[in-house]
Amino acid sequence: MRFERRLVQPRWLSVAVPIGSVVVAFGLMAIVLLATSHDPIATYRRLFDAAFFANGALTSTLVFCTPIVFTGLAAAAAFRMQLYNIGGEGQFYWGAIAGVGIALYLGDQGVESTPVFVVAMVVAGMLAGAAWAAIPGILRAFFKTNEIITSLMLNYVAGLVLTYLIIDSKSYWRDLESFEGQTFPLGKSIPEEAKWPSWSLGSVLVPLGFGLAIVVAVVLWFVYSRTRFGFELQVIGDSQQTARFAGMRLRRKIIAVMGISGAIAGIGGASYEGDFAYQIDPTGLQSSFFGYTGIVVAALARYNPIAVVPVGFLLGGLQNAGYTLQGADFPSGLVGVMQGLILFCALGGEVLVRYRLRFGRRVVRAERPAEATP
């Protein structure tokens, strides 16, 4: 077997390969399930039922997929330029902290208009996420420090900030008044008016955050494929040297892209709070792994912002099913294994997009002089 580089990459392959990799991943997962003596067909039936078909399943899948679409867009924005921001997790936490913070503050000031709350939370989350992502961005731009490790380390720090705010201090975010809050560390709930509205489509509730995610996806697609800024990012992503010779300002672009990526993850955090959580819950936030799932989504969508939305919906469904079904007979970690397998298959499938597989021996062999082969 050998690989031949494709001169032209057919368009249909870039759609077929991700779909194929999801199918193959489900096949591989079935082997894992069989090996650990679970019935794959029954497990899959329950999985899909809980994700998409059961009563109210679509509504909760939309709630789960909204943060994942945001973190997926955040990862896609950075990875496309070969900037591996895996700090989406921490930037998401900061978006949540800032979003809840501003909602609590405005509530204390007597603000009662929902649109004001929504705009304020989005802006606050965006700024907080961007600021947190700017740290690895600046370090990368000025000191060439590996952004993968720094952005990841900052995830742990952001997680500790969450714990500190709710469990280890009497911060503004902590509920110190209610009875529950005094017996057990709890986050303060945002005011009723600050909770984001949702649209009902038949029996399905679409959260405002999901609509916002689609808007962000379209804007990101437009910026990356239809503007000069986006073009320059593509050149930098393909070859830093070319970009430098062409006079593009690398440092600014690196910081800008990290900032954009963090801002999107931050909006995700704010929308998670406004749509669903309404308070800072350190364990809930840290056990959801929204940031890491976003990386899987982005890679499977081949860093195309528009494709992130349907892929995020699929993986959000899995996440929702894993959450709904968790218990003794539905092993935890199954969804993570599934996501890892999907990502492996997507990566392996990439070879089919770039290369053509040829089986059998080389024809060139025949032209060699006979004495060369002993």
């Binding site: 060439k144 420090t145 490790i149 201090s169 970690g333």
Partner: protein
């Protein structure tokens, strides 16, 4: 009388922290040595965290299941952990060497697949491992009865077999890479695979072997947590140690001896919050500040190393992260 004096010195904060630095640094050392082997052959593997967790859970499972007496069980557990870590690395090796996938994304995929929310947690649940202490765990050996010697006793002589094994690994890897013909071949593959290929060195084989060996060492590193430090199975018990190990390799300029220094430095940062808590010192400062220390210090150290090293590319294998395709040279 002398022993009284000795125990006084040995209970001092400095000696305690150095002793714990070795304890907490050992998993980092194993994992960093493994990553170093893979990177010296040109393969960047960011899946260390995942491989460590799978090693930790499988090592723990082995000790609970193969209950055949302390040291035999523990030795078997290390073998199981190494095999588990090696198998995880094999997935990465196949994707990046044979299929030429992006090494960064594949490593991330491995961490997601095997990590805290993935296979390690799935296995821990499925094999019903959480909640019980390990039936056997690695304990300090008190070599030659020298554990009470002032200062060096607790740091050097009162450690577990894992620590001595890690020292043997440092020595073996340093000699292998620096003083032997096969080691030279590995370095050639990592620096200039095309040249190595022309010399008749199997690039693919070398990369496979060293990536898998690296995974095995990461698996043993994970087992250090579940069989000595914790010692039980808790999902995600490594808490980012795998990533610190990746950073350590950069910090150590890809040299095994410096990995040892770096691992103990970060071991000390990890041990500090516990020791401060035990002594009741600095209680006014939130505990989170100290827990965040290893993570923040990793960033600080990386910045310090990368700004200077970027100019000279100190030690980094030239072909690190680049797939080798003979037809596309």
């Amino acid at each position: 009388m002398t022993s009284l004096v000795a125990s006084g010195v040995n209970d001092s904060f400095v000696v305690l922290i150095l002793g714990s630095a070795v304890l907490y640094g050992t998993p980092l050392l194993f994992a960093a040595l493994g990553e170093l082997l893979a990177e010296r052959s040109g393969v960047l593997n960011l899946g260390v965290e995942g491989m460590m967790l799978v090693g930790a859970v499988m090592g723990f499972w082995a000790v609970q299941t193969l209950d055949v007496g302390g040291s035999v069980s523990l030795a078997a557990a290390l073998v199981v952990a190494a095999v588990a870590g090696g198998l995880m690395a094999l997935i990465h090796a196949f994707l990046v060497i044979t299929l030429r996938a992006n090494q960064i994304v594949s490593g991330l995929a491995l961490t997601i697949f095997a990590g805290a929310a993935g296979l390690s947690s799935y296995l821990g649940n499925d094999l019903d491992l959480s909640g019980e202490p390990a039936k056997h765990s690695f304990a300090p050996l008190d070599v030659l009865g020298l554990g009470d010697v002032p200062v060096v006793g607790p740091i050097v002589f009162d450690q577990s077999a894992l620590v001595y094994l890690s020292w043997a690994c440092v020595l073996a890897i340093a000699l292998y890479l620096g003083r032997t013909r096969p080691g030279l071949n590995v370095r050639a593959v990592g620096e200039s695979p095309a040249t190595a290929d022309a010399m008749g060195i199997g690039v693919t084989l070398h990369r496979y072997l060293h990536t898998v060996a690296g995974g095995a060492l990461a698996g043993i590193g994970g087992a250090c947590f579940s069989l000595q430090i914790t010692p039980q199975w808790v999902s995600g018990l490594t808490g980012g140690a795998g990533w610190i190990a990746v950073a350590l390799v950069i910090f150590a300029f890809w040299r095994p001896d410096l990995c040892l220094v770096g691992a103990y430095l970060f071991g000390a940062f990890s041990a500090l919050p516990l020791l401060l808590q035990a002594r009741g010192w600095l209680t006014g400062v939130p505990a989170e500040v100290f827990i965040a220390l290893p993570y923040v210090m990793t960033i600080v150290v990386l910045v310090a190393v990368s700004s200077g090293a970027a100019k000279r590319r100190l030690g980094a294998p030239a072909a690190l992260g680049i797939p080798y395709v003979r037809e596309e040279r």
